[in-house]
């Protein structure tokens, strides 16, 4: 595939899937963010850090509107970013992925990446609504979260490569090895240092909505990139050319 066409379809499918992610979040995650920030404001008033004045609310509304409108914009940016990673991995692995067409292959890969790069790290370091995180620990938490994602992703890649060396049934061994490896890492990594003071049912419901949003991204990006790939590439690669 031509370099420019390849980059184009990867970015467009990432942007589309990110737009869907942002829109889903706007609909189902925002109400929980509003609730959590509401609690945070009450805490600010109670501690005397802020005063419950009309000026406070004018300023608050100003930046909340900016934050909410950013949900979809940053969905597109994040979608193009993660979509680029997905495009790279897909290009490198598509010949060995199971499935008889590009859409099936892409959705299988997006499911694997959803599981290893999102679900497993989420189980260890789940998403939190505002008010839960301590500003002092944000760098530590970012390092922990990113490291765990990287370890899980690189581990999955390594065991996948290993599995290609084995015959049919022994591929299973690679899968089990990954499960053992990631379980060890899971329990070895330090916990999120922050204590949750927000109501637990708010946190739980927020997390469910967050998972639904990210899942909508991974399903979309697989379907859309697979569709584009079929549309622009498949016949060229399989048809011999006579000159």
């Amino acid at each position: 595939m031509k370099t420019s066409l390849f980059i184009m379809i990867v970015l467009v499918s990432g942007a589309f899937a990110g737009f869907i992610h942002g829109t889903v979040n706007f609909a189902i995650v925002e109400p929980y963010l509003d609730q959590a920030i509401g609690i945070e404001n009450q805490n600010l008033f109670a501690s005397g850090e802020e005063e419950d004045t009309p000026e406070f609310w004018v300023e608050y509304e100003g930046y909340r509107v900016w934050q909410k409108s950013g949900q979809i914009v940053s969905g597109v940016i994040l979608g193009m970013s993660v979509g680029s990673l997905f495009g790279i991995v897909f290009a490198l692995s598509k010949n060995t992925l199971p499935g008889n067409n590009m859409i099936k292959k892409a959705v299988i890969l997006s499911s694997i990446m959803w599981f290893t790069l999102y679900i497993i790290p989420f189980l260890k370091y789940p998403a939190n609504p505002p008010t839960v995180g301590d500003g002092e620990t944000v760098v530590l938490r970012a390092i922990l979260y990113l490291s765990f994602i990287a370890i899980s992703g690189l581990g999955a890649t390594a065991f996948y490569k290993l599995s290609k060396k084995f015959q049919n049934k022994r591929k299973f061994i690679a899968l089990i090895s990954y499960a053992v490896f990631i379980s060890v890492v899971f329990f070895a990594m330090p916990e999120n240092p922050d204590k949750i003071t927000a109501p637990m049912n708010l946190v739980h419901e927020f997390r469910i909505m967050s998972v639904l949003g990210v899942t909508s991204f991974w399903i979309s990006v697989g379907l859309i990139l697979g569709f584009f790939w079929n549309r622009f590439e498949s016949h060229k690669e399989t048809t011999p050319h006579y000159t």
Binding site: T3, L33, G87, A91, D134, V138, A142, K236, T243
Partner: protein, 71 residues
Amino acid sequence: MSELRQINVSKTGVSKLAIVALAIIFAAGLFVVGFDQGHIFSLVYGEQAFADLYIHELTHDMRHAAGFPCH
């Protein structure tokens, strides 16, 4: 004379250049949405940007929703 020839014979069918370009987009986008605390605007506006946190505010809600660490 006809000759059987397959175009695009490279193993993956995509160029290294494309992979590098996408890897840069991946890293930059992830940083902006997941971790930027005003660094990018500070290149243009100096220290003031760290106080205003424009990008942070714009990407703030997605950061929480996508599971990145925040406040």
